[in-house]
């Protein structure tokens, strides 16, 4: 009996030690933090919809979380899972744009503007120019990059904060987009008051290289998601393994030390704004070239760049983790859009995502809390150990 007890205690200790070791790791803390953010956000969102419509609150929440699982047919599920994936791809890439800038000490708030310019270029290249998809994608990236480099040049040569110039360029891009799209009848669908979409059959439509068979015939699941994953790997490798990544992270963490070490700040900052812009452009390409989105007249800056900010932070600014955070955000926004049937305004889903995103802003705070708890536990253990010594 005692043996079993001893064995049990040993097992428990091993698991406990392993867990402690795991939670001590910086990356583990980030994961736990992000999970907490998501859970708390869901909870707060739930309370809000409880106030709006108590009788349907549970159903609404369930629908939001279930998204495509709401369908009983496994093929239909797969089909809509594919759609969600296709919508995730641009968000992943946008998060990468934000996070890459952030590592270099740049807050790329101008991502929305870069996205907008790229979007307009895609519409013209795809609808008017009728170019093949890869050329359109390339043009989009070039457009985003050249728009972003304005921010970089202003920062490097005139010491203009990238946040200020980013906000200004966002506005310019927005009205430029509105004006340009309306000016051309091939692009502008006057009867619907929005631009045409790049639809299946168009040369600019992203191919799906047989992926539709995996997703029950859903043809929008193109190579977008694959491109997004490739971008993730490339950015991960650049940050972790290259001298360029080392340079920009040194600048981001301590610009004075970077100067002391002789790192060329002008070159590094301009290059990273170019990369940020190219990623924002790629994000526009992935969201416009699969037939989901059109350009709509608006007087507010598109939210794509800001969604990228929240997803990047919810992912703890880790290129791998943003894949999951982006998917999570897309999953609940997508799920939320169906709960209108339950008597909720479509904005309710936005409330839930907003509260999660809002909480991701607290991620630093939550992380600190976890670390403090760790410290306290260690202290307790230490005290216990010392007391034992004294007892002897």
């Amino acid at each position: 009996m005692n043996k079993i007890k001893a064995l049990f205690i040993k097992c428990f200790d091993t698991v406990n030690n392993g867990l402690t070791k795991f939670t001590k790791k910086e990356s583990a803390k980030t994961v736990i933090t992000s999970l907490w953010c998501a859970l708390l956000g869901l909870f707060i969102g739930f309370i809000i919809i409880l106030f709006i419509n108590p009788s349907n609150a549970f159903d609404g929440m369930a629908a939001t979380l279930e998204n495509f699982f709401i369908f009983s047919n496994s093929d239909t599920r797969l089909y809509y899972f594919g759609s969600t994936l296709a919508k995730t791809a641009p968000l992943i890439v946008m998060s990468l744009s934000i996070l890459f800038g952030y590592k270099c000490g740049l807050f790329n708030i101008g991502a929305s503007g870069q996205y907008t310019i790229a979007f307009v270029v895609i519409l013209f290249a795809g609808l008017v120019g009728n170019l093949p998809w890869y050329l359109v994608m390339l043009l989009a990236m070039i457009a985003g990059a050249s728009y972003a480099v304005i921010t970089g040049l202003l920062k490097v040569f005139f010491n203009v904060s990238e946040v200020i110039s980013g906000i200004m360029l966002n506005c310019i891009a927005l009205y430029l987009g509105n004006g340009l799209c309306q000016s051309n009848t091939t692009v502008w669908d006057a009867s619907h008051g929005e631009s045409f979409k790049i639809t299946q059959g168009s040369q600019a439509f992203l191919p799906n290289i047989g992926l539709d068979k995996l997703f029950a015939g859903n043809t929008v699941v193109g190579i977008g998601i694959i491109f997004a994953l490739i971008a993730v790997i490339v950015i991960f490798v650049v940050l972790k393994k290259t001298t360029f990544g080392y340079e920009i992270q040194t600048i981001g963490l301590n610009p004075e030390a970077a100067k002391y070490a002789g790192i060329n700040k002008v070159k590094a900052i301009i290059l990273s704004t170019i990369i940020c812009g190219a990623l924002a452009g790629l994000s526009a390409s992935l969201s416009a070239q699969n037939g989901f989105n059109s350009w709509q007249l608006s007087s507010t800056v598109v939210s794509a760049g800001f969604d990228g900010i929240s997803s990047a932070f919810l992912g703890g600014l880790n290129p791998i983790a943003v894949v999951f955070s982006s998917y999570f955000i897309t999953h609940i926004t997508d799920g939320g859009s169906v709960i209108t049937d339950l008597g909720f305004a479509p904005q309710v889903a936005n409330i839930i995502t907003a509260s999660i995103i809002y909480l991701s802003g607290f991620s630093a705070f939550i992380k600190q809390y976890i670390s403090d708890k760790d410290l306290m536990r260690e202290q307790k253990l230490l005290c216990r150990g010392n007391n034992k010594k004294e007892d002897k």
Partner: protein, 542 residues
């Protein structure tokens, strides 16, 4: 006879995550005495004093004031018990005046004072006390002026903090504690930022305070100061109480030994210099401040040769830092030329200067020397990461860097909890400095520029770092040292250059000069015309 002590800290124990910062330390302060608290960096001095000031809570032990057990939960409790602390890093509001800073937090409020208060007067007083809180600057200024006169602080109460010198700022901190009627004052390494003359002034003030019956705890690394003012000395080492001594019955050597736990040679042995060819020549270098348009470095010329340590001494802020920035390229010089091994490097970028063999141990470890959030591994290749040795086609070779970093950690005895992967932010100042020195001396170099390499370090680390620099010199490297501490200047230098207001005003051989003479030149009382460029190699054999 417990009542004789004004403060007793008994068996204080404080544990942090995995270290015991204070292990059953007891400390007693008598009324009207100056107690010196000695110990190496990380010995637990600051933790102990922070506990007394209420910044930390002890895990065990108790604090008694005048024999009664008290609980100090936060600095407000400490202030209520008349305990004041003068921090090493000042806590002043730059944009406020001296007076505003002094009264900050306990401002006297305006009120009507009469023998007979009408209801209306009382109402006004009440409103001001509870709602308006208008400050009575007249009363405040009177009270502060009284203190200033009493202790002979020579200070302008209406000057802005950003406009006054470091010495004055420290006086403001002291007046702040006196204004609050504190009678137990904790001085946490107050002299680290002061010059020799200013230190004398501060020590006089401390003795005056003692005469007034105040009790003082004085933390300092510098034995001279401790022995000048302290009545008793408490030594702690590695979180444990070592010994209480009367200053009159001990020696500097004994204290140093108790602090470090082994014998420390404060004077390093120095063989005769073996001087080779010229490595660095600075030719009429000038630098103009962008804001004030003043020449902060004014036509400076000197050279450094193989096998010698040239020291630039002077009072802080006389252009030493700017001179080094101009040489290393962090700031561009406005005129003048730089030669390195005979090559004109005036227009070289920082990277190019690094590559041809100029090593720089910067003054500010955190600002320039390290990327604090990087591990040791990443920090040791801060300048070399893109050399062939550490990268290929733009990809970093992690294994090579790890190996290189391991070598530095072993050679320079860097103590780090998880070796090369330790994030430098978590390390002590001495070990951080060792990482920087290790990096700068392991890379290919002919010249080492060391700016205040021992700033804020304890005796043990100072000894190590001085030995390292002497080794460099003995192995035929050129060393340019910037130092504010005369002890260091005399221990290490082969030639001393004095800098005053951006100019080099004197050159001395350390064997033929005295501290007093240097002091005259450093304060600008005397000036020579100097040609600090020395030609020729020689081998001085005794």
């Amino acid at each position: 006879m417990a009542a004789e002590y004004t403060i007793e800290m008994i068996n204080i124990t404080k544990r942090f995550a995995n270290i015991v910062a204070n292990d059953h330390i007891s400390l007693r302060i008598e009324k009207g005495e100056i107690l010196g608290l000695c110990g190496e960096n990380g010995a637990g001095k600051s933790t102990l004093m922070s506990i007394l000031f209420g910044l930390f809570q002890p895990d065990e032990g108790e604090i008694r004031k005048d024999g009664k057990v008290v609980e100090i939960k936060n600095p407000n409790d400490a202030t209520a018990l008349n305990i004041g602390m003068i921090h090493q890093h000042f806590k002043l509001v730059e944009a406020y005046t001296v007076l505003q800073n002094i009264i900050l937090g306990s401002e006297p409020l305006w009120e009507i004072k009469k023998d007979k208060l009408t209801i209306f007067d009382r109402f006004l007083n009440f409103i001001n006390k509870k709602v308006l809180k208008i400050i009575d600057y007249k009363a405040a200024s009177d009270k502060v002026q009284k203190i200033v006169d009493k202790y002979g602080f020579n200070i302008d109460l209406n000057a802005k903090i950003s406009d006054i010198s470091v010495e004055m700022q420290q006086k403001v901190e002291i007046i702040k504690t006196l204004y609050r009627d504190n009678d137990i004052l904790i001085f946490d390494e107050p002299t680290a930022v002061l010059t020799e003359q200013e230190i004398d002034g501060l020590l006089k003030i401390m003795l005056n305070l003692k005469k007034e019956g105040k009790s003082i705890v004085f933390i300092s690394h510098k034995m001279n100061e401790i022995f000048k003012v302290c009545d008793r000395i408490t030594v702690i080492r590695k979180g444990q109480h070592v010994k209480d001594l009367l200053t009159s019955e001990t020696t500097k050597e004994e204290i140093s030994m108790l602090m470090v736990g082994r014998e420390v040679k404060l004077d390093v042995e120095k063989p005769a210099p073996n001087i080779g060819k010229e490595i660095l020549r600075v030719d009429n270098l000038s630098l103009i401040d962008k804001e004030t348009k003043k020449k902060i470095v004014n036509n400076v010329s000197f050279n450094v040769r193989e096998g010698e340590i040239v020291t630039i001494a002077g009072i802080d802020g006389n252009g030493q830092q700017d001179l080094i920035y101009a040489i290393t390229g962090i700031n561009q010089a406005n005129s003048g030329k730089l030669f390195f091994n005979g090559e004109d490097i005036s227009s070289y970028s920082i990277r190019k200067k690094n590559r041809i063999g100029l090593s720089h141990i910067p003054e500010d470890r955190h600002k320039h020397g390290l990327v604090l959030d990087y591990s040791i591994n990443k920090n040791v290749v801060l300048k070399e990461y893109n050399l062939k040795q550490f990268s290929k086609y733009g990809f970093i070779k992690d294994k090579e860097i790890k190996k290189y970093s391991k070598g530095i950690i072993e050679k320079f005895d860097v103590r780090a909890s998880s070796e090369g992967d330790t994030v430098t932010r978590t390390m002590s100042g001495g070990n951080q400095q060792k990482v920087i020195i290790g990096r700068e001396l392991t890379r290919k170099h002919d010249l080492v520029i060391a700016v205040q390499p021992i700033r804020g370090l304890d005796i043990g680390s100072i000894e190590t770092i001085h030995n390292i620099l002497l080794n460099e010199r003995n192995s035929g490297k050129a060393v340019l040292l910037v130092s504010l501490e005369l002890d260091e200047v005399f221990t290490l230098s082969d030639r001393i250059l004095i800098m005053f207001e951006g100019e080099i005003v004197g050159e001395f051989n350390p064997k033929e000069t005295t501290r007093e003479q240097l002091g005259l030149y450093m304060s600008g009382a005397k000036k020579d015309k100097v040609n600090a460029v020395k030609e020729g190699c020689y081998n001085e054999q005794n």
